[in-house]
Amino acid sequence: MFDLYRPGTSFLHRLPAGVKVLLLAVLGTLIFLVDDLAVILGFLAAVLALYPMARLPMASAWNQIRPALWILIAILLAQGFINGWETGFFVTARFAGLLLLAGLLTLTTRVSDMVDGMERGFWILKYVGINPAKVSLALSLALRFIPVLATITAEVREAQKVRGLNRSIIAVAIPVVIRTLRMSDEIAEAIETRGYSH
């Protein structure tokens, strides 16, 4: 599983998943109401400070930024030339702060706890005519099959390499999709034989 969770016992680790998600959503929205560069920089510093407070290594903070580095630099430069460096830093700092904030959630919460938290909230879906059990099953199935599809993709690429076709997106995608669809019949059968009824 791609769990980015880093085990720990800090106060952030012990906060319930639902609370953290809510806080993230609220803070993430409120931050867009801020206009002042100083406040944004303060926000960024505060979030960064939470990392050592949660006993998370600073390397993990950097890991939240690294995948988006390209976008951050692009935006910084674009804004720098269009509207000036202050705007550039403002936008970049805001985005970096949000990434780090979201990173805190990811690093201190197990995916399974988040899924459990969501499932507890699923009962609301009944009022919108959605069956919570189906949503829960779909979630688990997706999590289960992501690594499987990744493996299938790798296998198909290997097989196509022999024919020199491993760089052709079509030559790889068609077999992968076909295999995926073929799996679906058996998976549905397996689910039904385990007593799941719809």
């Binding site: 791609f2 995916v111 689910i191």
Partner: protein
């Protein structure tokens, strides 16, 4: 919504995630890296249909939101939606739904060129319609600036439209009784 539908939804969400693992291609003319991942949107709509395709991408978005590093480049987490590319990703469920809906509306089998048009309407049209304004908002740009900044990705996206249509046709040939209805 039967068991098979739920499996389809989960699998196409997983497929979109797996597509994020393809290395990005750089189109020599434009110099902008394009990732295969948004093809997941197009394939989900074209192969699983409007309802299942849309829900598959919704599921994908939820998985990214809870922190799974499923976006191309190993990115994920709620922060992505609050950033410049957030609108693009959030548009994906709607795009997949629209593509499926357009193809389903079409009586009989959709000819290749027309399927490309439908896929483009959803996979490029809707995506940019939602993604660009959000980009402007999150990156403090004017709409014009946001459009200009995004324009470089359009040729790559159009290539993806063609690829998605060809892949869809190839899959349907092998799976003729692939129903888009449950």
């Amino acid at each position: 919504m039967n068991t098979k539908d739920i499996v389809y939804i989960a699998l196409f969400a997983a497929l979109t995630a797996a597509l994020g693992l393809f290395p990005p291609l750089t189109l020599p003319a434009v110099g902008v890296p394009i990732t295969a991942q948004s093809m997941g949107v197009m394939l989900a709509g074209a192969l699983a249909g409007s309802k299942r395709g849309g829900l598959a991408l919704l599921l994908f978005v939820v998985l990214v939101a809870i922190g799974m590093p499923l976006l191309a480049g190993g990115r994920g987490g709620f922060g992505m939606f609050l950033g410049p590319s957030g609108g693009f990703i959030l548009s994906w469920p709607i795009a997949a739904f629209l593509i499926g809906w357009l193809i389903e509306r079409h009586k009989g089998e959709t000819p290749l060129v027309l399927s490309m048009v439908y896929i483009a309407i959803g996979g490029v049209g809707v995506v940019y319609l939602i993604g660009v304004p959000w980009l402007a908002f999150a990156a403090e740009l004017t709409l014009t600036q946001a459009i200009t900044g995004s324009a470089g990705f359009i040729p790559g996206d159009l290539v993806k439209v063609v690829l998605a249509a060809l892949i869809t046709r190839g899959v349907r040939k092998a799976y003729p009784d692939l129903g888009t209805r449950s």
